[in-house]
């Protein structure tokens, strides 16, 4: 009998935690996708020129490019 009581108080504690968590999430202020997506797009556009994998970088400034051998004159 005491075992049953223990597990039911545990499930109550768990259920209470779940309800508290959901209350926190429900109270969050949300924004429409049309607004938030526009910001995501804007961020991409603003930073596209400085994205080396998108625009490619000059061979001379790329440290990973294979170095040509030196020619001794």
């Amino acid at each position: 009998m005491s075992g049953k009581m223990c597990s039911s108080s545990n499930s109550i504690i768990q259920a209470q935690k779940l309800v508290d968590q959901l209350r926190v999430e429900a109270n969050m202020e949300r924004f429409k996708i049309s607004l938030t997506a526009a910001d995501l797009v804007q961020y991409c556009q603003e930073h596209r020129r400085s994205d080396p994998l998108l625009t490619g970088i000059a061979a001379s400034s790329n440290p990973f490019k294979d170095k040509k051998t030196c020619v001794l004159l």
């Binding site: 009998m1 049953k4 009581m5 039911s8 108080s9 499930s11 109550i12 259920a15 209470q16 779940l18 309800v19 968590q21 959901l22 209350r23 926190v24 999430e25 429900a26 969050m28 949300r30 924004f31 429409k32 996708i33 049309s34 607004l35 938030t36 997506a37 526009a38 910001d39 995501l40 797009v41 961020y43 991409c44 556009q45 603003e46 930073h47 596209r48 400085s50 994205d51 080396p52 994998l53 998108l54 625009t55 490619g56 970088i57 000059a58 061979a59 790329n62 440290p63 990973f64 490019k65 294979d66």
Partner: protein
């Protein structure tokens, strides 16, 4: 307090009333549980409705006028060989040239990405070192795995010195360490574990500063929000949930349950307003934090293997995703389409990471190697 059995009526009456009281309390608790469950259901419904109301347009529709990304020619420039078993994790140093990698072989190696020189090689007292991270200063690395601990190792300038001897245990969990990262300084470490919790630690003292509970199964990945957006981080795990946490309060502030299988990796979008996830359900997804919902699914009928890792390019336009079919798919984040594929690894890709200046992509694999790739310069 055990009842003393007696033949007297008084005692048995008392016993009866005692059990009756307990039965009544049981009934009250039962009612409370039912009310809580009801509230739970109605809150979940409300959340779904509220999130649905904001779904006035799709991300790719908003991005319709954005020009298409041209074909990318990304080529492998370096192959880092040295590990004798699966490479499980890697991280870049802020100096944009050094990397740290960790492997099932129990070793943690610090490489110079330009020269391929192995600057440090450290043996851990465990195999499956599943997590490693470079400290912001570049003077230390953190690593952890099956030993259930995350250790910080200061890197000596003297290559002859045995760094592993100075290893300091910082994080302690009750199951494997799946991910770790320094916060904005060398002083604090965030860890996540197969024990379902993540934790914030003080590196110097090893003290637990905050613990984060909420996942109902192993956590497989974490990522810290870009410093401009404040003190939050995101985790993803085997309970198919991605949770966002407030580092100071320990509160789970947002939760997303959209994937159909384990989430293997989570990564913030560079602005901090969104994050991407990679899952065993063969999809990667994009979640908008201010709209509080999933806004894109990166999937194809031809992609049937789990995605294990994701990272964004510097502008956030490209999403690099490593899969269990040995490939890396490059997705257009805004349009939701695949731009190109990268081949080369001979086993699962376990980790992809852009270098801090965005010029190179490092991929780690179960084929025991790491590859550093970059795109051809456009003429």
């Amino acid at each position: 307090m055990w009842p003393v059995w007696s033949q007297t009526n008084q005692t048995s009456n008392r016993l009866c009333s005692c059990f009756l009281k307990m039965a009544c309390q049981g009934l009250q608790k039962g009612e409370t549980l039912a009310t809580l469950k009801k509230e739970c259901e109605s809150l979940k419904k409300k959340l779904e409705e509220d999130r649905g109301k904001l779904n006035d347009v799709e991300l790719h529709q908003v991005a319709e006028k954005v020009e298409v990304v041209g074909a990318l020619s990304i080529k492998t420039r370096r192959v880092l060989k040295g590990h004798t078993n699966k490479v499980l994790c890697m991280d870049w140093c802020k100096d944009k040239r050094r990397l740290v990698s960790s492997s099932q072989d129990g070793k943690v190696i610090v490489w110079d990405g330009f020269t391929l020189n192995k600057e440090h090689g450290m043996s851990m007292p465990t195999t499956w070192v599943m997590a490693c991270a470079y400290a912001p200063s570049g003077c230390a690395v953190a690593c952890g795995g099956l030993d259930n601990k995350c250790s910080v190792i200061p890197l000596s300038l003297d290559s002859n010195e045995n760094c592993a001897a100075k290893k300091k245990t910082v994080a302690m969990h009750t199951n494997y360490i799946s991910g770790c990262t320094f916060t904005n300084s060398d002083m604090q470490l965030l860890s996540c574990s197969g024990d379902g919790t993540s934790a914030l630690w003080d590196v110097e003292s090893g003290q637990l500063l905050q613990s984060f509970h909420g996942h109902t199964s192993d956590i497989l990945s974490l990522d810290l929000a870009p410093s401009e957006t404040g003190n939050t981080f995101v985790t993803g795990g085997c309970d198919k949930k991605a949770n966002v946490w407030d580092m100071r309060s320990g509160q789970n502030i947002q939760s997303f349950e959209c994937h159909e299988s384990d989430i293997n990796c989570v990564k913030y979008y560079p602005s901090g307003d969104a994050f991407a996830s990679a899952s065993d359900d063969a999809t990667c997804r994009f979640f908008d934090l201010r709209a509080d919902r999933e806004v894109a699914v990166f999937q194809k009928d031809s992609i049937v293997f789990g995605a294990s890792t994701v990272d964004f390019s510097l502008s956030g336009r490209l999403l690099f995703a490593g899969y269990n079919d040995y490939t890396i798919n490059v997705w257009d984040v805004l349009k939701g389409t695949r731009i190109s594929m990268m081949f080369g690894h001979e086993n699962r890709v376990s980790r992809v990471r852009l270098s801090p200046d965005g010029t190179a992509l490092c991929s780690a694999s179960w084929d025991n190697t790491l590859r550093v790739s970059r795109s051809f310069p456009h003429e």
